[in-house]
């Protein structure tokens, strides 16, 4: 299987090991030895492919030490998609990986809306009564580990209802329908940021979009593929595209950088080696990040009321800026809103160290990367942090709490929705 992955088969040989990847890797910056350089991942993948290395837990652990932030893939002069190689390694080595907690969380809780409900309940309970009490109640005592404690620390507070509870499958456009939008409501937005999901729907409908949010949506598969579970990622992708296809939507959008990046086919080479399913092909070029869709694809309603004076700074999620080249669009939205002033932070496009579930298994490393991000945020003295990814939001939120900062983390669309609301 490893040998069949296109990047492994054809691109490893193009690596000249120049080391330019060292200059951009957030983990290398912290670890500071060659074992952490992205080119080392390329080299080790080569050795594994050629049988010079046998699959084992040490190698699995090494493969887990990557944020999949794509900084190196984007920087590489030879065009090596290092993140693709790492994902291929993780899949190949999954039986040797010891990330039990992560696996369990993903396979049981981050799958479809039903399992998310369970996750919602468990999180709510644990956040009210503490992780140990939850473990006692659910019999998960055997799994109590520092990892689970960390997972609990890193997740954003869950309150009220999941977004999907209050979102109909079809939300009509306000006024004349211009386009039928499939809204990919991702797990993290659904669970942790329901206000964001509602804001997305509000803004879309105000702008003449009929919004379809299929009830049967499953996870986009990014967390699964990032943890070596290609099979689940594939099944879920097929399911999701079929739903949108059956609803006959014109485009698919997501307010989560990782979801839109995944849906656009970041890892399709590995998911669909035998060829893309028809429903996936149908949506080629029709999948958008929310910011980009609003700025580039529709005539955005600019009838906005002034908001109370607020300064915001914006953090670029890796899966937007590096995967999709989206940098200006969210800023354009923020600049459009009267009363909101954008203050750029240093290194806005530097990874926050969250990387989905990375922070759980590599908490200390992740924390170091996060700390420099928080310093950059503090230097702006902004009132609010904005970003376009719920995973980044959680990571930033955690960092802000740890630094005793009382800043909110929002998606630009939340400000936009607020400004529309005031018009009414």
């Amino acid at each position: 299987m490893l040998q069949q992955v296109p990047a492994v088969k054809d691109l490893i040989r193009k690596c000249v090991r120049c080391g330019q990847c060292r200059s951009v890797c957030p983990l290398f910056k912290e670890i500071k030895n060659e074992g952490a350089a992205p080119r080392s991942h390329v080299f080790l993948t080569q050795l594994l492919r050629d049988g010079e290395l046998e699959p084992d837990s040490a190698l699995a652990r090494r493969a887990s030490r990557c944020l999949l932030c794509k900084s190196c893939s984007k920087e590489c002069p030879s065009g090596i998609p290092v993140d693709q190689l790492v994902v291929a390694m993780r899949n190949h080595l999954k039986d040797h990986s010891k990330d039990n907690v992560k696996r369990l969380l993903l396979s049981k809780l981050f799958k479809d809306q039903k399992s998310l409900k369970t996750a919602h309940f468990l999180l709510k309970t644990s956040q009210v009564t503490g992780i140990k009490s939850l473990a006692d109640k659910t019999g998960l005592l055997g799994l109590i580990s520092s990892d689970l404690e960390k997972a609990n620390k890193l997740t954003a507070p869950v309150s009220g209802k999941m977004a999907s509870k209050n979102i109909a499958e079809v939300t009509p456009a306000k006024g004349k329908r211009k386009v039928r939008v499939g809204y990919f409501l991702g797990c993290a937005t659904n669970l942790f940021y329901p206000a964001r999901a509602h804001a997305t729907i509000e803004v879309l409908t105000v702008n003449g979009c009929e919004v379809i949010t299929p009830k049967g949506l499953q996870c986009c598969g990014m967390p699964h593929i990032a943890n070596g579970d290609v099979v689940s990622a594939k099944t879920m992708t097929e399911n999701n595209f079929k739903l949108f296809y059956d609803f006959d939507v014109d485009v698919i959008i997501s307010d989560c950088a990782s979801c839109s990046s995944m849906l656009q086919g970041d890892y399709y080479d590995q998911l669909f080696a035998e060829g893309l399913p028809a429903a996936v092909t149908h949506f080629k070029g029709k999948i958008y990040d929310l910011n980009k869709f609003l700025v580039d694809e529709i005539d955005l309603n600019a009838n906005l009321e002034k908001l109370p004076k607020t300064t915001v700074t914006y953090h670029d999620p890796c899966h937007l800026v590096k995967s999709q080249g989206i940098k200006e669009e969210p800023r354009k939205i923020l600049k459009l809103i009267p009363g909101v002033e954008l203050i750029e932070m240093d290194g806005a496009d530097q990874c926050c160290g969250g990387a989905g579930t990375f922070g759980i298994s590599h908490y200390d490393l992740s924390r170091k990367i996060l700390d420099s991000k928080i310093v950059s945020i503090m230097d702006t003295s902004a009132d609010c942090v904005t970003t376009s990814c719920p995973a980044c939001s959680m990571q930033l939120g955690h960092g802000l709490v740890e630094h005793d900062l009382k800043l909110e983390v929002k998606h630009p669309v939340e400000f936009l929705a607020e400004a529309y609301r005031k018009v009414k």
Partner: protein, 472 residues
């Protein structure tokens, strides 16, 4: 000494987190950017990450006592196996020791530790309006320590020279652990001819004489303006002639780069939007200085170039300059594009020839490529005769590897025959020492004497720089 014992002993000298010994870590230290390292595994027995002179000294004392090879390493971005433990032993990774200790603006110099990355240094110096001029293509990742060890240079060597012109003094840990300071223990002088020039002895010695632990560099004021001129040729011969015409007019550009037809093709295939004109050769001149002088010199170079070129374009517009310069900066990468299943390999990549032999060397390299059926892409720093050749092969095919080795040997011999050198900036390492006797004659024996005097046990980066056969 057994590896386990070695690691145990090293952990007594350094804190345990500064000693690497896991298999996957050691494997990660087995490569650099060279062709040779693609096909050989040079796996060290241990890696150490010292961050003080004392730590380096203690490791050296230990290695000296037990006769264990020590290979100093920067970013491992070299092309000659220079930082690889070809004889096993300890790799001393100095990249994490990256402190800029003092910027002395009044004396226009900086003191730093060896792991500082070149680009980071210049980013830091920009606030003072100063810069360290040598500019290797690997600026983003290479360390200043590595630059000193290899006497590195780059695109702007034609005006600014190489690293050695900027090093005022060094702190060096000798193979037996003794620490010395070259260039004067207390000196902050810029001109200094007191004593033998030991600084220059260590520069370019590729870590074979000691470990550089501190560097004092002279800095220059950063130029305020820049412009790029492109000249297009339908006859390769005319390109070097223009270079000489420009020199004769009294103008010294900060960079003069050439792309031959193979490189133009590669760049256009890689990035069609750059859209270089289809031609036999393209020259790119970079001029820097003050705005008025840059403007005047640019127009003058344009006037001169028009005598031989079929097209000339001069620009000080940042966007256009970036596009034009990109034509050169992407060449090294673009080379591989001439063959979809191929990769550019770093071998025979760095010959240096007299200015009046550049055209001939380019022509002959093309012929050699044809002879072995290997596509080669040629580009380089024509302003100082440093020609970069990129053979493009499938490095996973052993027959092609063998042919490439023959091709490379012929390129090196051509350089010597034309009165040049096998390497203009990348160094000897473990890949070019076989030409040492031919290149240096009896001077090689003096190199052996120096090596023996400073490193009597031969533990300092063995297997590099000097031919092994004669080393003992």
């Amino acid at each position: 000494m057994q590896s386990e014992q070695l690691v145990r002993e090293l952990k007594k000298i350094l804190s345990p987190d500064k000693v690497l010994y896991e298999k996957l870590d050691l494997l990660s230290y087995s490569y650099d950017s060279s062709f040779k390292a693609r096909n050989n595994r040079y796996i060290p027995d241990a890696v150490v990450l010292p961050t003080s002179t004392q730590e380096v000294s203690e490791v050296m004392k230990f290695a000296y006592k037990h006769e264990i090879p020590v290979t100093p390493r920067g970013a491992g971005s070299g092309e000659t196996c220079g930082a690889l433990a070809v004889k096993g032993g300890i790799v001393m990774d100095l990249a994490a020791w990256d402190t800029i200790e003092e910027v002395d603006t009044e004396n226009m110099q900086v003191q730093l530790r060896p792991g500082v990355v070149h680009a980071k240094l210049n980013e830091h110096l920009a606030q003072y309006g100063l810069f360290f001029p040598p500019d290797p293509g690997s600026s983003k990742m290479c360390t200043v320590g590595g630059m000193v060890a290899n006497n590195s240079s780059g695109l702007r060597a034609v005006k600014y020279g190489t690293t050695e012109q900027y090093v005022l003094g060094l702190e060096v840990v000798l193979p037996d652990g003794k620490v010395i300071t070259t260039g004067g223990v207390k000196s902050r002088a810029i001109k200094n001819v007191s004593g033998m020039n030991l600084t220059k002895l260590f520069i370019g010695s590729e870590g074979t004489l000691g470990v550089v632990t501190k560097i004092r560099l002279r800095l220059w004021p950063k130029p305020k303006a820049r412009g790029i001129l492109m000249a297009v040729y339908d006859d390769l011969e005319n390109a070097p002639k223009t270079v000489l015409d420009v020199y004769k007019s009294g103008i010294l550009p900060s960079g003069i780069e050439i792309l031959d037809s193979s490189a133009i093709k590669a760049v256009n295939e890689y990035k069609p939007e750059i859209n270089l004109p289809d031609a036999e050769a393209i020259l790119l001149f970079e001029l820097d200085g003050n705005p008025a002088s840059v403007e005047w010199e640019g127009n003058e170079v344009a006037r001169i170039a028009k005598n031989r070129a079929i097209k000339v374009e001069w620009s000080t517009d940042p966007k256009r300059m970036a596009e034009l310069w990109q034509g050169r900066s992407v060449t090294a990468t673009a080379a591989a594009r001439v063959r979809p299943d191929g990769s550019r390999v770093f071998a025979g990549e760095d010959i240096s020839v007299p200015l009046n032999k550049v055209t001939e060397s380019l022509r002959r390299i093309k012929e050699i490529g044809k002879k072995y059926g290997i596509g080669v892409v040629n580009y380089g720093h024509i302003g100082d005769g440093n020609v970069h050749t990129a053979p493009v092969i499938n490095p996973e095919d052993s027959a092609e590897v063998e042919l490439a080795n023959k091709l490379v040997d012929e390129i090196h011999r051509t350089a010597i025959e034309l009165g040049g050198s096998t390497t203009g900036e990348h160094g000897i390492g473990a890949v070019r020492s076989q030409y040492a006797r031919e290149e240096h004659g009896e001077a090689l024996d003096v190199m052996y004497i120096i090596k023996k005097a400073l490193d009597p046990k031969g533990i300092m980066n063995p297997g590099k720089l000097l031919p092994e056969r004669e080393e003992q």
